[in-house]
Amino acid sequence: MLRRIEQLLLDLAVVAVIGLGVLITTTVLLRVFFNSGVPDAIVMVRELMVAAIVLPLAVTTAQRAHIAVEFVSNRLPENGQKTLVVMGSVFGLLALAPLIYAGWREAAHAMTSGGFFFGELMLPKWPGRVIFLLGISFCWLRLFLMVVADVRAMRRGAPLAETAYATKD
């Protein structure tokens, strides 16, 4: 189930990247040929950026694609390496927790206050903030499940799965 949601979030991010390209290219073409533009294009691009960057966080985490320095850990025995991987994930859970709390506060505030971006379309502020909260929350959940799976694998003496998708959710 979680995997399906994560794939959906990734595909939404793909749509957001396409949206970025289309929106900016259209703006350039309209400016060059008609001396015109897309209203509030900058605000829309900024909101799409949040979707493009934050929504794939859970998949990135599941694929263990976060960049880490492995120079020291590669010289440790296998069990030491596994311990460091789990420790890194636990630290990630701690580091992301304040972001979720802050994201929740901001999203709730944007929705209740009805904040909007000044411009022709007066676009609301809440979508970007809600997407941010959603992306970070799913990333946290995936990281938590990976910690649980990794600890179980360590207890069994089994190697850690290369990606979270190698094991059942």
Binding site: A13, G21, S73, A95
Partner: protein
């Protein structure tokens, strides 16, 4: 509580956590959050944690969200997408094939074509590791099959791959531009001449290598007609067109770097579909890879942004600048010290990690000395490029080792790299001694 002490402890904690394999983004964000909380909690002299929660979470949210919620930075996913789409549309490999046909008769022609191919690949994509990985899969096995010296066949591509960071577009330049608040368009233009200089240096290394040891590269004995040559050159037009859009568009003032990225992605998709090299399925795959890769980059940048804000609160950067100023280091000595620090860090850390860790301290320092930040950016990126091929953690070397497998041991690749490293050091000295090499093109805008 002494801000400088908290700042220095934070740097030590980040280095320790990085050594313990904690992902860079989590290490930076986690330490910065705790550090900010401690600073705010002790603001009145006594420990009042309830007073620290709101300012800490506000700082954490605003710095990470504002970084992502950016129009200018949309060029990062777009340039990353351009690389993936161009590869799947067979645009990047055509440059190598054209160079291979044209340079076949020159001693070491395939190795030189590989380096030229890397330069061409770099002109469309923004990542050194992506460049080494893609070109390595094509060039190194081919050279090994042709009987090239194993060191030459691998080291040339590992070194050529580093051009990805210097020749525009470059993800490292974009990240440098964010943290130093310098024009990314100017940085792109500033990287062109140093990039070409490095490319020429690598070609010279291969040429001299093969001249002194002809057995290192078997001579081409076949025939290539003029028609074949022109046909190969014509097939490379999409890559040339995309590079022209990027550089010509920015230099000519037609559009910004962000707009150049979007226009190039649209053009690459159209070319790919028109030439029937790109399918809807491969386009979606390319964009999925783009999203995962971009997210990993942005998470680090967001962690770094929070860390930079925290460091600004501590005032440690100002204290270090003061200490260096008091020591009355000459500009040359300062630059030499900076180069040594970057080269040492480059032996163990990845380029993005080094940059986000050092820039909060380095930028105020070089600004105090009156150095041009565009030129300093080129110097930093060149240093980071060198770090990609220096032992023991030369990322590009490991990428190539992964491609060629057990056929070429990693120490053999590193022994071949030494000749390219020597040229890199010469180019670095030239860039440092003659800032005009970097500043000529952006200065003429």
């Amino acid at each position: 509580m002494d801000g400088t002490l908290v700042g220095l402890c934070a740097f030590a904690a980040v280095i320790l956590l990085l050594g313990l394999r904690v992902p860079i983004a989590f290490a930076l964000a986690g330490v910065a959050t705790v550090g900010t909380f401690v600073l705010f909690a002790f603001r009145t002299g006594t420990f009042l944690p309830e007073r620290a929660v709101t300012p800490t979470t506000s700082l954490v949210f605003s710095n990470s969200f504002d970084l992502i919620h950016s129009y200018d930075l949309s060029m990062i996913p777009l340039f990353v997408a351009l690389g993936h789409i161009a590869y799947r549309a067979d645009i990047t490999t055509k440059i190598y094939h054209a160079a291979r046909v044209w340079l076949a008769r020159i001693p070491g022609g395939v190795a030189i074509a590989s380096v030229v191919g890397c330069g061409g690949f770099s002109a469309i994509t923004g990542s050194s590791i992506a460049c080494a990985s893609t070109m390595g899969r094509i060039c190194s096995p081919e050279m090994l099959r042709m009987g090239y010296d194993k060191r030459l066949a691998t080291a040339s591509v590992a070194a050529g791959g580093t051009l990805g960071s210097l020749i525009p577009p470059s993800v490292l330049f974009i990240i440098y531009g964010i943290f130093t608040e310098t024009s990314i368009s100017s940085l792109f233009l500033a990287g062109i001449l140093p990039g070409l200089l490095s490319l020429l240096g690598f070609i010279l290394v291969i040429y001299v290598w093969v001249l002194r040891d002809p057995a290192a590269a078997p001579r081409f004995t076949g025939t290539i007609t003029t028609r074949e040559k022109f046909s190969a050159a014509l097939e490379a037009w999409p890559a040339i067109a995309l590079f022209t859009i990027i550089v010509g568009g920015i230099y000519g003032g037609f559009f910004t770097a962000t707009e150049a990225a979007a226009v190039c992605v649209s053009a690459a998709i159209l070319i790919g579909f028109a030439q029937r090299k790109l399918t809807l399925r491969s386009l979606v795959e390319a964009l999925r890879e783009t999203c995962v890769q971009t997210t990993a980059i942005f998470l680090i940048a967001a962690g770094a942004k929070i860390f930079v804000a925290f460091i600004a609160l501590t005032g440690v950067a100002g204290d270090i600048v003061q200490a260096v100023t008091d020591a009355q280091l000459s500009p040359v000595l300062l630059l030499a010290a900076i180069a040594v620090i970057y080269l040492l860090l480059g032996m163990f850390l990845d380029p993005i990690g080094i940059m986000v860790l050092t820039l909060p301290l380095m930028v105020p320092l070089v600004e105090t000395y009156g150095f041009d930040l565009i030129w300093f950016g080129v110097v930093v990126i060149k240093l980071l490029e060198i770090g990609l091929i220096t032992p023991p953690v030369g990322l590009n070397v490991f990428v190539i080792a992964g491609v060629v497998g057990k056929e070429v041991p990693i120490d053999r690749i590193f022994s071949g790299i030494l000749r390219f490293l020597s040229v890199d050091v010469i180019v670095l000295i030239l860039i440092m001694a003659f800032p005009v090499i970097s500043l000529l093109i952006p200065g003429s805008m």
